[in-house]
Symmetry: C2
Subunit: 429 residues, 2 copies
C-alpha cells in the first residue's frame, strides 16, 4: 500500500506560520478522513525564542535552524517573508527537489522568474495561494476550476488596508490621514503602511495572478502602480454623486500579445459587484469566455484565512508527492516572459478634476483643450462658486486615450485660470 | 513514460453536452499545455439525430448507443438529465469501474446514496461540479481550497430562474405572474417552471452542497422546501422599506449532529452580499472557521458555464486516472446518512403579514397572541387605512421559535378582525 504520510518543515512562526501550525495540528484527523493523507510537521524554524515557548511546540517536532530548512521533509513552507533569506530558503529547497509553499508575494513577484525556473528544472512546484487574496481559493479556481476558460479580464480589490481606508473615507466622511490612523488603530494597516498605500502590495499580487492566468512571467518593474494617498474626500463625494465608488483596482487583461496590468484608484459603478466589497475584504471579479462574469469575495489577510490557503496548498502538493504526479517532461516550459502594455496606450473613461478661478469661459477653455485632444465630455459637475481657494470642476469623459488625456491636462494646467495641478482617476469599464 | 491520454464518452448532446463537446474540442491544446493531459472523446451518444448532424461530429469520434455508454472509455460524462435512464447509465458506468461526471442534480440528490456507495465499492468517483451553481467552482473550493475549514454555515442563491423573477419584481414593480412570463420570454424559465419556482431545484443542489460539506447523505425527502409563488409585490415593497430584499435562499448549517437544511424565501439585509446578487446570477455565501465569510458569485446555468464545470471535473479525474490516485482502502466510508433538523425547531426572526380590518385594538390583539407565544416584536408597519380589502400590518419579530410562531399565526387567524390567511417570511441571520 502507498505510504500516505507527507512531512513539512514550517519556516517562520509569525502571524501566518502560527496559524498553519495550529490548523495542521488541530485538523489532522479531518484532513486524513477527507483525503487519506497524514500531514506531519517534521521541523519548525523560528528565530524568536519567545514565540517557540508561547506555542508550546509538540515534543515530536524538531526545532530546526534555517540551514536545515529543506532537510528531512517533503515540502518546505516558507512564511518568514522578506526577500533575501526567503529567497535562499526557497531556492535551496527547490534545488533539493523539495516542493515549496509560500505566502511571500513580494518574493515571487520580484524574483519569480528565477524561482519558477528552478522549480521547473528540479521537477517540483511552488504553490502560493495565500499570497493572493488570503483565504479565497482564487489561484486554485483559475488553475483548475476554470481550466476550460480563457480568462480575458480580471479586476481585483486585493489589498485590504486600502479598501478599509477608502470605505471609511466614504462612510464616515473622513479625510485620508484620519482613515489611515483609524486603520492603524484597528490593526488593518501596519505602522509603515507604504507598501499597501502606494499600491505595491496589490501590484505584487497582480503580477502573480496575471502570471498564472497567462502562463507567463510579468516583469514587475514595468507594472504601472499608483496608490491612494492622493484620493481626497472630495473626490469620493463627487464620484458617489455621479454613481461611483473609488476603489484601488488591480487590472489584468491581455491585449494581443501584451498584458495590460496596472494598479491604480478607479471609479467603480455603484451597481458593479466590486463596488460592494467593503472594509478590509478582498474581491476578485473576472470574465472567462465560458463562465462569463464571476466574483470571489472574502478576507484577504489575517492569520487563519492565510493559513487556510497554505494548508490547502500543502494538501494539494502532498497528493502530488504521494501519487508521483509530475508534468511529463515533453511539456513546454510553462512560464514565458510577457511584455506589459504601456498605460499611456490604454483607452478608458476618466474622472477629471480641475481647481479653477471662478471666471467666465473657464469651462469653455478646458473643454476646448480636451476636444483638441480627442477627449469628449460625458458630464460635468460644477457646484461651488466664489471659493477663493478655487472652484472644483469635475468632468467625466467618454473613452479616450490616456496619453492624449495627460497631454490635455498638461496644457490645461498652463492656463491662468487653473489654481492647482489637475488630476485624473480612471473609470472601471 | 506515463500515458497521458484519457478518453471520455459523452452521453447527451443537449445544451450542456454540446458545450462540453465544443470546449473539449476547441481547448484541447490549452488544456494539454497546462496539464500535460490529452483529453479525447471516444464516443458520443444522442438520440436526436438532428443534433448529431448540426454539430458535425468529428470523424474520429464514434456515435454510440446508450448500452455502450461505458465501453472503451475512462470517464463517462452523463448529461441526459432525468432520473431513470441516467441512473442506469451512471450505475452501469460505476459497476464497470469507470469514473463519472454528471450535471444531474436531481439524480444525485434523490439517489445519491446508492450511487456514491457504488462508486465507493468500485473504487472510482462521481464528480458533479456543474450540478451546483453552474460555472462557479464551489464544490472544488469546498473540497480542496477550504479543506482546512469547518464550514459552519452556507446560504445560497442557487436557482437563477427564481432570482431573475424576484429581481424583476423588485426593480420593475411587477407581480409574480408577469415576472415569470418575462423570465420565460427571456429564456430564464422553462415552459414548465415548477421545479424552479417551487424550490425543488434549489433543494436538490442544497442536498449536494450539504452532503459534500458534512461528508454525508442528506435524505432529500426530509428537506423543508418552500417556493416563491406566494411572494407578492407588496411583500417585496414592505421588505425593501424595512431594509431587506426577498431572495430564495438555501440554508445549510450543522446543529449538533443534525443538518439544518431548507429552501425558502428569506429577507436578506440590503447590505448583505447575497442581497446584491441580481438577475439570473447565483451566489453562495459561506462561513468557514478559518477563512471567515466568503462569497462566490457567477452564472449558475447556461451552456458554457455548465460545460466549463464539466470539463474541469473531467480534467481532475483524468489526472487521478493517469496518476492512479485512489483513496487508501482503510479510509472510512465517506458518506454517512445524517438527519435533518426539523424546520419547526429553528429559531429565527420573521417578517409577518396580517391582512386586517381597520378596527381599534387590532394591533393589540395580534401582539398579545404573539407575546403569549414568546414572539416579541421588533418593528411594525401599518400604512393603509380604510381599505375594504383589508389593511396590511407587517411585523418584524426578534428571534423566535418557528413552531411557536406558527401556533401564534394559527390563533391570530381565528380572530374576526383577520381578513386573510396570515403569512410569514424568514429573515436571514
Amino acid at each position: 500500500m502507498k505510504k500516505m504520510c507527507v512531512d513539512i518543515n514550517l519556516i517562520g512562526l509569525g502571524t501566518v506560520g502560527r496559524g498553519v501550525y495550529e490548523l495542521i495540528t488541530n485538523k489532522n484527523k479531518e484532513i486524513n478522513e477527507k483525503t487519506g493523507l497524514e500531514i506531519g510537521i517534521y521541523g519548525v524554524c523560528e528565530k524568536n525564542k519567545k514565540i517557540l515557548k508561547e506555542i508550546n511546540i509538540s515534543q515530536n517536532i524538531k526545532i530546526i535552524d534555517i540551514k536545515s530548512a529543506s532537510k528531512r521533509c517533503d515540502i518546505v513552507v516558507e512564511l518568514i517573508g522578506g526577500l533575501d533569506t526567503a529567497y535562499d530558503i526557497v531556492s535551496n529547497a527547490l534545488n533539493n527537489k523539495k516542493y515549496v509553499v509560500t505566502a511571500n508575494k513580494a518574493l515571487l513577484a520580484e524574483r519569480g522568474e528565477e524561482l519558477f525556473d528552478l522549480a521547473f528544472k528540479n521537477d517540483v512546484e511552488i504553490r502560493y495561494e495565500a499570497s493572493v487574496a488570503g483565504g479565497i481559493p482564487i489561484l486554485k479556481s483559475i488553475r483548475e476550476g476554470l481550466i476550460a476558460n480563457d480568462i480575458t479580464e480580471i479586476y481585483g480589490i486585493i489589498n485590504g488596508t486600502t479598501n478599509y481606508i477608502l470605505t471609511r473615507m466614504e462612510k464616515e466622511e473622513m479625510d485620508f490621514d484620519k482613515a489611515l490612523k483609524l486603520a492603524q488603530n484597528n490593526g488593518f494597516a501596519e505602522a509603515d503602511p507604504s507598501l499597501d498605500i502606494n499600491g505595491i502590495d496589490s501590484a505584487h499580487k497582480a503580477v502573480l495572478l496575471g502570471g498564472l492566468v497567462y502562463q507567463s512571467i510579468i516583469p514587475f518593474n514595468d507594472v504601472y502602480i499608483e496608490g491612494i494617498s492622493n484620493i481626497t474626500l472630495q473626490d469620493i463625494k463627487y464620484a458617489f454623486e455621479m454613481g461611483f465608488r473609488v476603489k484601488l483596482i488591480a487590472t489584468i487583461k491581455r491585449i494581443v500579445d501584451k498584458i495590460d496590468i496596472r494598479v491604480h484608484p478607479a471609479l467603480v459603478p455603484i451597481n458593479h459587484p466590486l463596488s460592494n466589497i467593503p472594509d478590509e475584504y478582498n474581491g476578485i471579479f473576472l470574465k472567462g469566455d465560458a463562465v462569463s462574469e464571476q466574483l470571489y469575495y472574502g478576507k484577504g489577510a489575517g492569520r487563519y484565512p492565510a493559513a487556510s490557503a497554505v494548508v490547502a496548498d500543502v494538501v494539494d502538493l502532498a497528493k502530488k508527492i504521494v501519487y508521483r504526479e509530475k508534468l511529463p517532461k515533453n511539456i513546454k516550459k510553462r512560464y514565458i516572459k510577457k511584455a506589459v502594455f504601456a498605460v499611456d496606450d490604454i483607452y478608458c473613461s476618466y474622472f477629471l478634476k480641475f481647481i479653477t478661478l471662478d471666471r467666465p469661459l473657464v469651462l469653455a477653455k478646458i473643454s476646448r483643450i480636451l476636444g483638441i485632444n480627442d477627449v469628449s465630455i460625458a458630464s460635468v459637475i460644477q457646484k461651488e462658486v466664489n471659493n477663493p481657494k478655487g472652484v472644483p470642476i469635475v468632468i467625466l469623459t467618454h473613452k479616450a486615450n490616456e496619453r492624449r488625456v495627460k497631454e490635455a491636462l498638461k496644457e490645461i494646467d498652463k492656463l491662468s485660470i487653473i489654481k492647482a495641478k489637475s488630476s485624473l482617476i480612471r473609470i472601471l469599464e
